[in-house]
């Protein structure tokens, strides 16, 4: 029976009872409980089923290292799978349910896998399920997948909020045990900014449970005092419930704060992800106790000795009435002594060691009347869903049973492994410590940062130092060294606290218990509880040549479960080393990767959800569009109306209406997103001559010119109209997508190649709202709003002028992307909406029709104008597009010119732009290719061209398209075949790409 003791429970507030439910059962606990302690207090030892064999499993540990105790928590939109019971604080109304079983936790049919386990050794699936081939997808894989996974998938969107926080500190201490606190104080006394983060809700780590004294006072008192002292210092920040999740390059640390997990419903974020930039980091993350590998070490009731002690001291819970302790070191004696002193039965301590002399803890245990059996071990554990006893044997033998001891709990200790994860994340190296049989940080090989110097220092148990006195001395030095490395020197180093605890006898590494255990035992001795990896599996891997620890990991899945092998890794690689007959350091460890324990995806996304998922760029007319039926098209982070849908209208109909109205009378387009770059200086003309393929320096003030820009690889990257404002000033229009990138492109060339040229560039894209006023009635409409002369003579095609329009200062560019009479009007963005409204009002009598990007695209296609991103795709050069006229022959150089001289670019076989007209008037499918005879060497159908844009033209009442075709311009009238995806082919004739108003009569009025 596991029960709540009448006394004890250091962390509990027994005045506050909490109700919670497990698998529908109503249970009670206290404030301060974890789910684990509360379940144990209610005698709920069985908590889940293992991954592969569905073995019954109970809690093994009391902290982040717990492999078994995972539950689903919450319901509906707050449901979350795989919550670790040992690190989740109890709150009133909590609901939890066990995972990975059917139909119930108690009776799980999946347990059949356990019976078949001999057929399912490590890697068995690589050797099976191959025949017949089709079975993999339809039979084998579905079965394997069904048995995969632990918790259920959440189904709903998450209603909670999450946020990030950027913090900067000289010294970050990860871990708030006595080592972390001592290191923090040593660092803080130098004046350095210090931050301490502790994953649990409590300061002090293991020490309050383990006992000992500091400077003559009980260790608890020391902790209370040092926390108070740190809290009072202005240069110190203390955060509990904040885990150091990962240490990254250049001192970047992720801190995972569980702000709301223990108080659902409270205001504020559920999790806060700290991005801490620390000059120096102290990892004071303690050590984790190792299980021992004996047969049946996974039976519920077998727990880490330290956990048994924690439950007793911290939560007032006895996990069993009769607890057998099995160990290879002194620390587990503390558990026996604690239990005994609480009046519980400890029938025996089985100590695998044979020591010459009793240590103080042995003496104390014996003094309490506990039987200590040196040189003994567990041969096997009795019991199924709960321990009922152990069979005892000699550690030295093969497991012959000497006696059986009835018990309901086993407290095991295989020694301690420093938590080196955070030290290792960024490249810190480890050395093997023979004395403690553990890997610990090699201080001479710390991870190095931006300066090339080490930026992480380990302290206390995390540094492999276990005795309280040594822990305090070590961490005092580490804290001071960290501050010093961060550039702080103390007035006078404070005296390190003096810790006092009993001396301990040398531990003895025990990787297999008993030492000579045969296959039967090894195949029941668990290394990785969650992933069901046994000693025999690692040995099989070694035998099959998976000798590298990384191979063994991947072949057996050791250490790949949600606990990332915190309990299993060292034991596993020791077994591997033993099997390969090589020393453990030669085997080495697998790579430690963040996060230390899993962190919520939502915390990583932070605030970036819903409307804050990505910035949404809005033009000044955005609200009008939204209110008037805009069907949106995302363009970069902008959103532009694709068309404006009226009630009952299809998208196609809306687009056709917009085109027709514009061609017939008046259309208005919000063109504000077009890039507008001001280029100014004595060398501006020379600069633009290098950027554009055509000549810009000859452009006259007051006039506009269409230009093309290529990259150094020769490919067309942007196009637009350049207006010359005055001698020294040009305004370059770019595509919407090009505004930032072309600005960057200009700055790059100016700053890094032609830095002696006198040119400045300013990005004015957002300064202006720009509206295209398009159609036969464009001039009439503007005339109603201005007294300025906008006649064809004063403001001819490809000219611009400053005018006053509706009382606003405006710049009118007479340019046209539609082939209509057209003005693009720029006003200050703050007046954009006012101009839009004024134009709508003035144009009302001409049926002013706002149009979107699709109408824009159709009208330009009717005119045979290219569109960056349609006719170009990053592989197209201007020469392909019949734009030779825009490529200056006079210029010695421009970006892309040299590239365009390469053999493939001058190849006469390059596909060239043409118009395409289907014979039946239908619309060619987007992206269709036209076939040529035969196939190539790889059996692919030969092709001779492709469609680059294709539309139904409302103006012409038929399909029109542009495409790139082999020898296209020389083959006018040829008919090509474009297969559709359904196999049928459409025939289309090569024609001039200008489909409408070839003479430009409409625009030049």
């Amino acid at each position: 029976m596991s029960t709540r003791l009448a006394t004890g429970g250091r962390l509990l507030d027994k005045s506050r009872q909490l109700k919670f439910a497990f698998n529908g059962k109503q249970l009670r606990g206290f404030a301060g409980d974890t789910i684990a302690s509360a379940l144990l207090a209610n005698d709920q030892m069985l908590i889940g089923r293992s991954f592969k064999y569905h073995r019954p499993r109970g809690v093994v540990a009391s902290g982040a290292e717990e492999p078994n105790g995972l539950v689903g928590m919450g319901t509906d939109d707050s449901f979350e799978p795989n919550q670790r019971v040992t690190t989740t604080e109890l709150y009133d109304g909590l609901t939890a349910s066990s995972q990975n079983h059917w139909p119930s936790l108690e009776f799980d049919v999946g347990v059949i896998n356990s019976k078949l386990s001999r057929f399912l050794p490590a890697g068995f699936y690589y050797k099976t399920f191959m025949y017949p081939r089709a079975f993999w997808k339809h039979v084998y894989e579905p079965i394997i997948r069904q048995s995969a996974g632990l918790g259920k998938a959440p189904k709903h969107r998450d209603p909670d909020t999450y946020e990030h926080f950027y913090a900067f500190t000289d010294v970050l201490v990860i871990g708030g045990g006595v080592a972390g606190l001592t290191a923090a104080r040593a660092a803080a006394l130098t004046g350095a900014r210090v931050m301490v983060i502790e994953q649990t809700a409590h300061w002090g780590g293991r020490a309050p449970v383990d006992g000992g004294s500091v400077d003559g006072q009980p260790v608890d008192t020391f902790i209370t005092e040092i926390v108070a002292q740190l809290d009072a210092m202005d240069n110190v920040t203390l955060r509990t419930r904040t885990m150091g999740a990962g240490v990254y390059d250049h001192g970047y640390v992720l801190g995972y704060e569980r702000v709301g997990d223990h108080q659902p419903g409270a205001a504020g974020p559920r999790h806060r992800l700290w991005r801490i930039r620390a000059t120096q980091i102290v990892t004071a993350t303690g050590a984790i106790e190792r299980p021992l590998s004996f047969a049946g070490n996974d039976v519920p009731g077998v727990m880490l000795a330290s956990a048994v002690r924690d439950y007793a001291v911290d939560y007032g819970v006895s996990v069993g009435d009769r607890t057998v302790v099995v160990t290879n070191n002194d620390d587990a004696y503390r558990t026996a002594i604690t239990l005994k002193k609480l009046g519980l039965d400890v029938p025996a301590i089985l100590d695998a060691r044979v020591t010459a002399q009793d240590s103080p803890l042995m003496t104390e245990a014996k003094g309490l009347g506990i039987t200590v059996m040196m040189g003994h071990a567990i041969s096997s554990v009795k019991g199924g869903k709960r321990v009922t006893g152990v069979a005892v044997c000699s550690q030295a033998g093969e497991g012959a049973v000497l006696k059986e001891i009835a018990c309901d709990a086993v407290a095991m200790s295989g020694g301690w492994s420093p938590v080196v994860h955070l030290w290792s994340h960024c490249g810190g190296k480890l050395i093997w410590d023979e004395a403690t049989a553990a890997f610990r940080p090699d201080a001479s090989k710390a991870p190095t940062g931006a300066t090339g110097e080490g930026f992480v220092l380990p302290a206390g148990a995390a540094n492999g130092v276990l005795h309280l006195g040594a822990v305090l001395a070590d961490s005092d030095v580490a804290g001071y060294a960290a501050a010093k490395a961060a550039g702080f020197t103390p007035k006078k180093p404070a005296k390190a606290p003096q810790g006092n605890a009993p001396d301990e006898a040398q531990m003895m590494p025990v990787w297999m218990m008993p030492q000579g255990a045969g296959y039967d035992k090894r195949s029941k001795a668990w290394l990785d509880y969650q992933n069901d990896v046994k000693v025999s599996d690692v040995q099989l891997a070694a035998r099959e040549g998976f000798e590298s620890v990384e191979h063994a990991k991947r072949y057996t899945t050791l250490g790949m479960a949600t606990d990332q092998g915190k309990l299993s890794n060292i034991n596993g690689l020791a077994i591997l080393s033993d099997t390969l007959n090589q020393p453990i350091p030669q085997t080495g460890t697998t790579t430690f990767r963040p996060p230390y324990t899993p962190i919520s995806m939502a915390s990583i996304a932070g605030e970036a959800r819903d409307e804050r998922f990505q910035p949404l760029r809005r033009t000044p007319m955005y609200d009008w569009h939204a209110e008037n039926g805009a069907y949106w098209e995302p363009v970069g982070h902008w959103r532009r109306p694709y068309c404006y849908q009226r009630a009952g209208e299809t998208i196609e109909a809306a687009v056709a209406r917009e085109v027709t109205a514009t061609r017939e009378s008046l259309g208005l387009l919000d063109a504000s997103t077009l890039g507008k770059l001001m280029v100014k200086g004595p060398d501006a003309g020379k600069f633009l001559d290098m950027l554009y393929t055509n000549m810009m320096s000859t452009l006259k003030p007051g006039r506009c010119r269409y230009g093309l820009m290529c990259n150094e690889n020769g490919f067309l990257i942007d196009d637009g109209v350049v207006a010359r404002i005055d001698d020294e000033t040009f305004l370059c229009h770019t595509t919407t997508g090009g505004a930032e990138s072309i600005h960057g492109h200009m700055e790059e060339w100016l700053q890094t190649e032609w830095w002696d040229w006198n040119v400045y560039v300013a990005n004015l894209t957002e300064e202006y709202a720009q509206i295209a006023v398009v159609g036969p009635r464009a001039r009439d409409t503007l005339a109603k709003l201005t007294g300025d002369d906008i006649s064809a003579d004063t403001l001819p095609f490809m000219a611009w002028a400053d005018i006053t329009l509706g009382g606003m200062q405006a710049r009118a560019y007479r340019i046209s992307f539609s082939g209509e009479l057209s003005y693009e009007i720029a006003v200050k963005a703050s007046e954009g909406r006012a101009l839009w409204d004024a134009l709508l009002a003035a144009g009302a009598e001409y049926n002013a029709t706002t149009y979107g990007t699709e109408a824009l695209h159709i009208m330009r296609a009717e005119k045979g104008f290219i569109m960056i991103g349609d006719e170009t795709d990053g592989t197209v050069i201007p020469q392909d597009l019949g734009l030779g006229w825009a490529i200056s022959k006079k210029k010695e150089d421009y970006l892309g010119k040299r590239a365009q001289a390469r053999s493939h670019m001058t190849d006469p076989k390059r596909w060239k732009l043409v118009g395409l007209e289907t014979l039946d008037g239908s619309v060619l499918p987007d992206g269709a290719y036209c076939t040529a005879d035969g196939t190539n060497d790889n059996g692919q159908r030969n092709v001779q061209g492709r469609v680059t844009s294709t539309y139904h033209s409302p103006t012409l009442g038929r399909g029109i398209a542009m495409g790139l075709v082999l020898n296209g311009p020389d083959r006018m009238g040829d008919v090509l075949e474009f297969p559709k995806v359904d196999g049928a082919a459409i025939k289309a004739k090569i024609v001039d790409p200008v489909f409408f108003d070839r003479e430009g009569e409409k625009q030049n009025v």
């Binding site: 990254y248 390059d249 250049h250 001192g251 970047y252 930039r277 190095t448 940062g449 931006a450 300066t451 090339g452 150094e712 690889n713 960057g744 700055e747 790059e748 700053q751 890094t752 190649e753 830095w755 010695e892 150089d893 010119k897 040299r898 590239a899 001289a901 390469r902």
Partner: protein
Amino acid sequence: MLILTCPVCGVTAEETEFHGGGEAHLKRFGPGSSEGDFHDYLFSKENPKGVHLERWRHNNGCGKWFHAARDTVTLEVYGTYPAQTSEPPQDIKDAISAKRPGWTWRDFS
């Protein structure tokens, strides 16, 4: 997540404020240059395991380009310096030599 100091505005900031621009000190070859020179200008990369001279732009800051001498294996930043140069300044070269004796970069070391 790197931190870099922009030599132009003096701000030390994390990588997200910058934009990496690839290898530094490229010599531009334009019209008339040989196939080989032009190819090497665009494509032949040093891509060393070790010291890398590279371009960065402080795009979420002062907007200026600068150069950095950075180690691609240790991620140590030996120094940052103005973009308007064709070689790193001597103090940065010395800092590199101290850590990576015998290092070379195309035509200089």
